[in-house]
């Protein structure tokens, strides 16, 4: 248990890490609020996941009842609040650590069970939570991971989908050409400002922090994406880290003893794993998929055409009335496949319902026509598994 003691000691002696713990706990509270609206798990054992991770051959709902799940999630929320209060107060750090760890495990379990919750910001929060709880040299590791996150996230935006500005379309009253430049400007900020953020120079770090903080808050107001607030919260850590470093430098003038330094082996290893997760082929180390950053999904357009076949009746149904997919997976073929299968399951006992005819089409902004991802006029048949698109048997 010496690693645990060292870990707790490292948090206890560093004010910036205590603040980071509190910020992560706040991030978990935000995540709880957001997931409560979007995760199938909050609906109890009857619900099915909309999307499974690609390393899972089959995903299924939970065996726990809605009541049990509600108790677990409420406990997790209480623990997150307690962890935030204890970390910010600087007292009972061990208890704060335990509360944060349990909360982190619960949220990580939910994240692994439902790939529809996938977001780049949560991948960062998940990773930093892991560092803070279990690995040594937490400050440096957090610093470089945030740096790598911004650069890698900027690289995912170097594609026509993001640079067309379609992500901002309808959110800002600006001409489409202006949205294009706004998207390009966002990539430049993410490419350049992280270098300022990790600078030892206070002024530069201040510029980096201010630019990225304003950028994340701006993204929240424009895209209404709560995960950008989690990242903005993590950025506050850099301010506290800067003042702590200054304090330690001043203290070092009149304190002759040397601080025991945490191991420097882990942070490059973990950073390399994070970077490797972005560029690995899909079949190599499939579990690293949870750390892979994705490009903006809402830039993809999709159409779902589906027709209900009844006794002597064919009805072209409105997609908006039947399918309610979260924005981030609205055009995901697998999620649409699973959601439509759930429509089949829901209607199978209705008198007169026979089957569904389905067409699912997608296109990127750079494509002039839609691509047919799957179609069938016997969609509800159990033999139609949609294996070619990764559809899962639910």
């Amino acid at each position: 248990m010496s690693w645990l003691k060292r870990s707790l000691w490292e948090i206890d002696r560093s004010s910036s890490l205590r603040v980071l713990g509190g910020l992560l706990a706040l991030g978990q509270i935000l995540t709880y609020v957001y997931w409560q609206k979007s995760s199938f798990l909050f609906a109890g054992s009857e619900a099915q996941p909309l999307l499974c991770w690609n390393f899972q051959s089959q995903c299924s709902g939970t065996f726990l009842s809605a009541g049990t799940l509600s108790t677990i999630f409420t406990s997790q929320l209480i623990l997150s609040i307690a962890a935030a209060l204890l970390f910010f107060s600087g007292r009972l750090i061990s208890w704060a650590w335990v509360a944060l760890m349990i909360s982190w495990f619960v949220q990580t379990s939910v994240y692994f069970m439902d790939a529809s919750l996938r977001s780049n910001a949560y991948a960062l929060v998940f990773l930093i939570g892991f560092y803070l709880l279990f690995l040594p040299n937490k400050i440096r590791m957090t610093q470089y991971t945030v740096f790598a996150y911004f650069i890698l996230d900027a690289l995912t935006k170097l594609n026509p989908d993001w640079l067309s500005g379609i992500g901002f379309l309808g959110q800002i009253a600006a001409p489409e050409k202006g949205l294009e430049w706004l998207a390009a400007f966002s990539v430049i900020i993410q490419m350049v400002m992280p270098f300022f953020l990790i600078s030892r120079d206070g002024q530069r770090m201040g510029y980096g922090f201010a630019a990225l903080f304003i950028y994340q808050v701006g993204i929240f107001f424009i895209l209404k994406d709560p995960s950008s607030l989690s990242i903005a919260a993590i950025l506050l850590f850099f301010i506290f880290k800067y003042f702590e470093t200054k304090r330690l430098e001043l203290e070092s003038l009149y304190q002759s003893y040397e601080h025991p330094e945490p191991s420097n082996i882990w942070w490059p290893v973990v950073l390399l794993i994070f970077i490797a997760a972005q560029f690995r082929p899909p079949e190599v180390l499939p579990y690293l998929e949870v750390l892979r950053l994705e490009k903006l999904q809402s830039s993809e357009e999709c159409q779902t055409l589906f027709f209900s076949q009844g006794d002597a009746k064919i009805e072209w149904l409105s997609t908006e009335k039947v399918l309610h997919l979260p924005q981030n997976i609205k055009c995901n073929p697998q999620a649409n496949f699973n959601a439509l299968k759930q429509v089949c399951a829901k209607n199978k006992n209705d008198n007169g319902f026979r089957n569904l005819t389905v067409f699912f089409l997608t296109r990127a902004i750079s494509e002039t026509s839609y691509r047919l991802r799957f179609s069938s006029d016997r969609f509800c048949d159990s033999s139609y598994t949609g294996s070619h698109i990764g559809g899962l048997s639910l």
Partner: protein, 469 residues
């Protein structure tokens, strides 16, 4: 406090500049349209391409193109082969249609009837009945209203379009979807069906009274071509020459324009001095046009050269019905005269007073069996071909085209609102009427063999027959 010297410090700003310009370069590589006037979103919007989406064929029986039945385009009424029969009797009534279709008028653009049954439509769906008057299936649509005009049909498929821009092909027997074409542009009318292709008018520039025209493969919905800036055709009807891929239409100013669909351009146009009153008709290599003043024109469809014109001396509001096998054309004028034309010579063979207004009625040609043809003393040159049309307010007659006989005269219980559809051993026709608020349909079927009633054929009471101009 003295900070240790950092040898990389002077490199910080040059490095930032390098990253800045590098990222701008990468951004430009990823979106070359960034410096253009037009944004990528606008570019996509203006270059959106239509595509057909077929249902995965694993569960369907693929329909080869050669199994499609040839159906003439609206306005070019070719005959089909069948034997004629005797007295008419009511066999079935298409009554008790659902309330959703109550608002339909008796305007026959909202319904089609053929030997397969009946298809009724409104904006939000349509209902398909079999030949016994039994509802086979209905189609309801929430996404977008169905485009104007009747649902296009063949014996195996139904074709329709939505105003939002979808062209859809359904199996007629079950309503299952064969394919969908998503055009991404607003559609003006339901498609017109040619022997191998579908023609569709899409919204164009309303200020210039222009439409776009799209052509699709009837078998699989594949895009065969398009024409932009096509004049809005009078009455929405066109004539199509499938072999030469030519399309003829008349614009609202009365100009006939023939388009070469291979070259996607107008081949020739002609500004008629007379007011054109009906759709053009293409038969063989000829284009036939009728004017409101009563003139009938024949032109070479490829060159626009006028071959002949003939003054019928009566205003016309009807397209010519052509029997290409015997080079005979049939047309009725507003003075209720039926004119039978020798299309080769450009002369009228005879005319007959129908004693009823036949301007909205389509004459239908059908072929007698050889035995019936000889028993009825039909001329050899008619090759057994006869045509059917109204010959009184509640009567339809079968005419012998060369000698001017009335071969058969049938009294109906109500006014004529449809034309006969020929079955193997008889014919049927559907009549629509309003019963209070509800639209009702009545179908007549005749199944008796013609051989048994040969004595009923009589010398026709032909007025001024044959009459030379």
């Amino acid at each position: 406090m003295i900070q240790p010297y950092n040898p990389l410090r002077p490199l910080f700003y040059p490095m930032i500049l390098l990253i800045l310009f590098g990222s701008i370069y990468w951004i430009y590589q990823s979106n070359p349209a960034l410096m253009d006037q037009l944004s990528l979103i606008e570019k996509q919007r203006t270059s959106t391409k239509a595509d057909t989406y077929n249902v995965s064929t694993g569960n369907l029986d693929p329909e080869p193109a050669d199994r499609f039945q040839a159906t003439a385009l609206s306005g070019s009424n070719y005959g089909n082969s069948s034997s004629l029969s005797g007295d008419i009797r009511i066999e079935h009534r298409f009554d008790d249609l659902s309330e959703q279709l109550n608002e339909l008028s008796t305007n026959n653009s909202n319904w089609i009837a053929d030997d397969q049954g009946l298809v009724l439509r409104n904006e939000t769906g349509f209902q398909v009945y079999d030949s016994e008057g039994k509802l086979k299936w209905k189609f309801l649509i929430e996404e977008s209203p169905i485009a104007d005009g009747p649902i296009a049909s063949t014996s195996q498929f139904l074709y329709f379009s939505t105003k939002a821009g979808d062209l859809i092909c359904l199996y007629r027997d079950s309503g299952r979807i064969a394919w969908i074409q998503r055009l991404g542009e607003a559609i003006a009318t339901n498609p017109l069906v040619g022997p191998k292709s579908l023609i569709l008018f899409v919204e164009g520039d309303p200020s210039k009274n222009q439409l776009g025209l799209r052509i699709f493969d009837k078998a699989n919905g594949n895009d065969l071509g398009k024409l932009n800036k096509v004049p809005n055709p009078t009455g929405g009807t066109v004539a199509f020459h499938e072999a030469k891929n030519l399309l003829a239409l008349i614009n609202t100013e009365g100009k006939i324009i023939v388009f070469d669909l291979n070259k996607k351009e107008a081949l020739w146009s002609y500004d008629f001095p007379n007011q054109i009153s009906a759709s053009p008709v293409i038969a063989g290599d000829r284009l036939y046009i009728s004017s409101a003043e009563g003139q009938l024109f024949a032109m070479d469809v490829s060159s626009g050269r006028q071959l002949w014109d003939y003054d019928l001396k009566g205003p016309i509001a009807q397209a010519l019905t052509v029997m290409p096998q015997i080079q005979i054309g049939i047309i009725a004028d507003k003075d209720n005269y039926l004119h039978v034309m020798d299309l080769q010579a450009g002369k009228r063979k005879w005319r007959y007073n129908l004693k009823t207004n036949a301007k909205n009625y389509r004459f239908v040609a059908a072929r007698m069996t050889d035995s019936a043809s000889s028993r009825l003393n039909m001329s050899a040159e008619s090759k057994g071909w006869a045509f059917w049309g109204p010959c009184g307010d509640n009567k339809i007659c079968a005419f012998e085209p060369f000698k001017g006989f009335i071969l058969r005269q049938i009294e109906l219980p109500g006014p004529i609102s449809d034309w006969p559809h020929f079955l193997d051993k008889g014919f049927e026709m559907v009549q629509s009427y309003l019963d209070g608020k509800n639209l009702k349909f009545r179908k007549f079927i005749e199944k008796r063999k013609f051989d048994k009633i040969k004595q009923e054929a009589s010398q026709a009471p032909v007025d001024n027959a044959p009459t030379e101009n």
